[in-house]
């Protein structure tokens, strides 16, 4: 790996990047107390074990909120009562068969590894989602960072004019930056079609008038700034400069989906999730290192077999297009695509023809970023009740993602109350999935 962006732990470079990248669209300048000087000490403390060399530069993380049924997607069963009416289809990868609701994805399976042996300890949504995103259980006293924030904190990098991580979706429970500085947390986009708010001049306002107004503001503020020569005040002057740079910058077009041809936008699907995946590709293309796109409604306690085909239609279109698009642009090699959910669904079909929460055994998918293509890891029993081989606990799963990024798994990072935490708690990466 000769790419300089993938080499971490260079004190001054990280300091520089942390200052520029995050201040742009994140929530501000780093307060001094959090500056990577502090983590400088951590680097030595935790350097006992060198991280695995990175195989992925970026991550596109697709979150299936509500608990995706593994039976109707990645781990279908047949000939048992728990299978339900779902049929199984062959895929482009030898020996891998998935549910009939994902026909387009079936043609892309040679890029992907299916993990069929995930296990979570959390059976309720809020706790389950939190655990999946952070590797820690939900506590009342602290918020832990999600993977994008860890990446930004431990490595930085990416395009300094864009946020280091972006979250696309409406989930209000995302832990954000956790205990790390808000500036290292994700930039939130609720509607991918709207892009970034407030980056264009108000309608009817000519550019020169806008400039004159700012010049006037500047002039009227001179005495105040001279009276209070403080960094907090100065930060605001700098921020205005950066805001105007951003308004004029080309990079911001990453957020503008209208630049994409209609065929491309249709191929991803016009639903928010499809457009979110397209936005993710555009952002990664321009140097955003971690993009999460969430898709909800997988909580199929009732009418599982009616709702899943509809959900899969959206997912199938977006996911298969994303993989083929990344592949044809030569981006798949460096971009790890992750698809996951908080838990699976019960083998038993309930009285409402639905499936309930089942954290004991469920599936996730990885593709690109150094992961094997056309591979299956882990196995559930014939009926799908339990994991039969190669259990993957949630922290192990996250350690695998962190490992692909070359993040130091053992390096402790301290919260404001000086408690040590690591990127995937004590998870062990599943190295077998890497090519």
């Amino acid at each position: 790996m000769s790419d300089p962006l993938l080499r971490a732990n260079e004190h001054s470079r990280r300091r520089f990047i942390a200052r520029t990248a995050s201040s742009l669209l994140g929530v501000g300048l780093l307060p001094e107390i959090f500056s990577p000087c502090v983590s400088g000490a951590e680097v030595t403390a935790g350097a006992a074990e060198a991280p695995r060399a990175a195989t992925a530069m970026n991550v596109i993380y697709l979150y299936m909120g509500g608990g995706q049924s593994q039976f109707e997607t990645w781990d279908p069963k047949e000939g048992v009562p728990t299978a339900g009416p779902t049929k199984i289809i062959k895929t482009s990868a030898d020996g891998i068969r998935i549910a009939e609701h994902l026909p387009r994805m079936a043609k892309q399976m040679h890029h992907a590894t299916v993990l069929r042996s995930l296990k979570s300890t959390q059976g309720a949504h809020e706790q389950g989602v939190y655990y999946m995103r952070t590797s820690y259980t939900l506590r009342g006293t602290i918020r832990h960072p999600a993977m994008g924030t860890w990446l930004s904190h431990l490595q930085g990098g990416g395009n300094p004019k864009l946020p280091s991580s972006v979250f696309v979706g409406n989930d209000s429970n995302h832990p954000g930056a956790g205990f790390l500085p808000a500036s290292q947390g994700p930039f939130f986009v609720s509607n991918p079609e709207n892009g970034i708010k407030n980056v264009t001049l108000r309608q009817g306002l000519a550019e020169d008038r806008f400039a004159s107004r700012l010049a006037l503001a500047n002039e009227l503020d001179q005495d105040f700034r001279a009276s209070f020569p403080q960094s907090g005040v100065k930060a605001y002057s700098e921020m205005y400069d950066q805001a105007i740079t951003l308004m004029k910058s080309e990079d911001i077009k990453a957020f503008d989906l209208t630049e994409e041809p209609d065929e491309m936008r249709n191929a991803y699907g016009r639903e928010a999730f499809g457009q979110g995946c397209l936005l993710a590709r555009r952002l990664v293309e321009r140097g955003v290192r971690f993009v999460e796109v969430s898709m909800g409604d997988w909580d199929t306690h009732a009418a599982n077999f009616i709702r899943i085909p509809v959900l899969c239609e959206t997912l199938d279109r977006a996911l298969s297009t994303l993989l083929s698009d990344l592949h044809s642009r030569g981006m798949l090699q460096k971009t790890l695509m992750v698809l996951t959910t908080e838990f699976g669904r019960t083998p038993n079909i309930n009285a409402n023809v639905g499936r309930d929460h089942h954290p004991q055994a469920f599936s996730a998918v990885l593709a690109g970023g150094g992961v094997k293509g056309g591979y299956i890891y882990g196995k559930t029993d014939k009926q799908g009740y339990e994991v039969e081989e190669d259990e993957i606990h949630v922290p192990d799963f996250n350690a695998t993602i962190a490992s692909a990024l070359g993040l130091p798994l053992k390096q402790p990072v301290f919260s404001t109350s000086r408690r040590p935490f690591t990127v995937a708690d004590k998870g062990e990466p599943v190295l077998d999935v890497f090519a």
């Binding site: 201040s23 669209l25 994140g26 929530v27 501000g28 300048l29 307060p31 001094e32 107390i33 339900g84 009416p85 506590r139 009342g140 006293t141 918020r143 209000s172 832990p175 205990f179 808000a182 939130f188 970034i196 708010k197 407030n198 980056v199 264009t200 001049l201 108000r202 008038r209 004159s212 107004r213 700012l214 006037l216 503001a217 002039e219 009227l220 503020d221 105040f224 009276s227 209070f228 020569p229 403080q230 907090g232 005040v233 930060a235 605001y236 700098e238 921020m239 950066q242 805001a243 951003l246 308004m247 009732a302 009418a303 077999f305 009616i306 009285a351 409402n352 023809v353 109350s417 000086r418």
Partner: protein, 766 residues
Amino acid sequence: MRYFPLLFNVALSLLSLALSSRAAAQEASPNAAEAARQIDALLVADWKKHGLKPNPPTPDEVFLRRVYLDIIGRIPAPGETQEFLADRQPDKRARLIDKLLASDGYSHRMFAFWADILRAQTAGLPTSGISSALYLKYIKESIRTNKPYDQFVRELVSSYGKIWENGAVGYYMRDRGMPLDNMANTARIFLGTRMECAQCHDHPFDKWTQKQFYEMAAFTYGMDTTYTGIREAPRAIALFARSRKDREAQMKSPDPAARAQAERETKAARWQGAVFENLGDRVKYVKTDYVADRELRLPHDYQYSNAEPKSVVKPAMVLGPPAQIDDPGALPEAYSRWLTSPENPRFTTVITNRLWKLAFGRALIEPLDDLKDDSEAVNPELMKYLEKLMVDLRYDLKAFQRVLYNTSTYQASASREQSEAGTVYRFTGPLLRRMTAEQLWDSLVALINPAPDEPRELPGDRELAIKVGQLRKISDALDLLTAQELFEGALKAGETYEATAARSSELKDAYAAAQKAKDKAEMERLNLEIRAQSMKGRSAANDLLVIPAVSRLYTQVTGQPAPPAPRSTEADEVMAMMKKGKGKQAVRHNYIDVPGYDVPEENAAEREQRKKAQRARFDEEARRFGLEGNRMDEYAKAREKIEATWLRASELSSPAPRGHFLRDFGQSDRQVIENANDQASVPQALVLMNGDLLPALTQRHSQVMLAVEKAKKPEEKLRAVYLALLTRPPTEKEKASWEAARAKGLDSMEDLIFALINTQQFLFIQ
């Protein structure tokens, strides 16, 4: 006004809010001035010792803006500014402080303060937002009535009962199912002591051991937030267990009818869990219970030699004075008295520092919530004096703030030089502070809305009262059912559950067949029928248990026999209404009204009366602005929109949704204690330059534009904008700058307003 008593009961009434807040005028404390002088003297002594000079006194307009922001959380309106600047009496600052502390704006300001500390969220507690709403109401009410701080904290940590009886119980609900985390939070926010490390192991940097942590937690471990909604459910479930043996015996009976009955009941009994869950569904988690005999045990992997793993922990206090336990059955009481005792020094240190920080920008001990035995205040004599003052004032937070704001030091200019976090600052004046997100938002609101502070009925208040009434009714009714009745009703309802499950199973097969045949219409029909089946079970439980319970409640309340109960809504009717999106109504109207519980929807007459009163208020304002005739109508129309849209931060959801102006400016997410930040970020500049704010500020009937309209000459208009936005007239230099800009084509007031809201002096509190 049938719902009037209820509104009083549940503290929902805006009427009562308005009435009592006017009455609660603050008597001026004769000692405030003396105490303020003492504080100044202690500061002067400290400056002398360290060779420092005090900051110069502030001009009136700087003081005015600052004290408005600090006490009521927004900048003054032009009228308020003129009134103060025109006042020539020497005691005008003291009188202003009193006025602001007594005003409605104080509650808005302090809500953000407490909501950040308590992590009070609109959606922070379970059960469809109602518990949260009542908890927030309780916090607001405690602020508004200036409840003594020690009493407030005692109520929070020792209250149990249903949320509508006492909103304080929300304190435990906030950490539902996490009693140990709750204890760590209590220690941090009220004692400034960080114990959360000791939750899992001995504290690595402080003296706390894990055992000590558990000993503290044992006091409140009995606080149970997992209420299922049915008081007698545990005993009813025990009856099910006991009756199993009877049924098993009956299965062996020679009588075939008896055997059949036993079999039927055995099948029905299997559904007890589902029945109780469905019954309690709407009213679970509405209560914090105190279970006196709930034992706290050390974890199974306890690693130290001073106790066995899994051994029971006896409550003990690990800091401050020993706790007085008079009644072992009321540990939270003892705990709350110990916690809030003046003998427990950290309790006073923390709140004193919080309020000092609110006024001066930094605490005397930083961080104020990580106190150690050797923590020392930057000015120990002052710290000691302030703590004594707090105790002498009996934790009256308004009285304490009155003293701080009356000091010459608070009324001095903000320090010119930066004082970095972590360095010693000797308080030669307040620090320069960026407005909090709430102060900034509320200031902008005040530039648009001429009456931003007054309590009034908010959209959703009535709806909330209706919902609370419904829940109270069902919950209180379910409480009247005995274990035996629950057992019998659930067994009977279980038969319907069993029957519908069997039917569902058939439907499921039919569904699979339809799916195979790709018959979409049939699939949808079957799906609806399957859902209707599940409604039938719920409906049976409702008919057999809830409806009779509500009738009993009626009789209990009125002493009269209950009117006939409405027929239970049939499953297919509910389905039909669900299709129209009105499923909830179908359920709501399923019970008889019980006096004191049901709050009617607003009727036409009430609505008209409310609109009339509103219009009268708007007309009064319009006259104040000198508007007449047509303009009054136009004003009323615009004003109605303003009233619905431009609400103070404390009246919006807590926290505001992500992407809201407040969040862009660092409002706390209220997931973590005091998580607000005041750092600059690009979205802030973007929203001030390009957002929807400017059009709102410059609409014809905004507070600021009406002030501009009243001014006739250009220099008067300039002055009006300066007074409204920056609380001062423009300097000669600024007048010249504006003239020059005008000559170059910036000819509208919108240009000037844009420029001023995009200055840093607008954002910072001098």
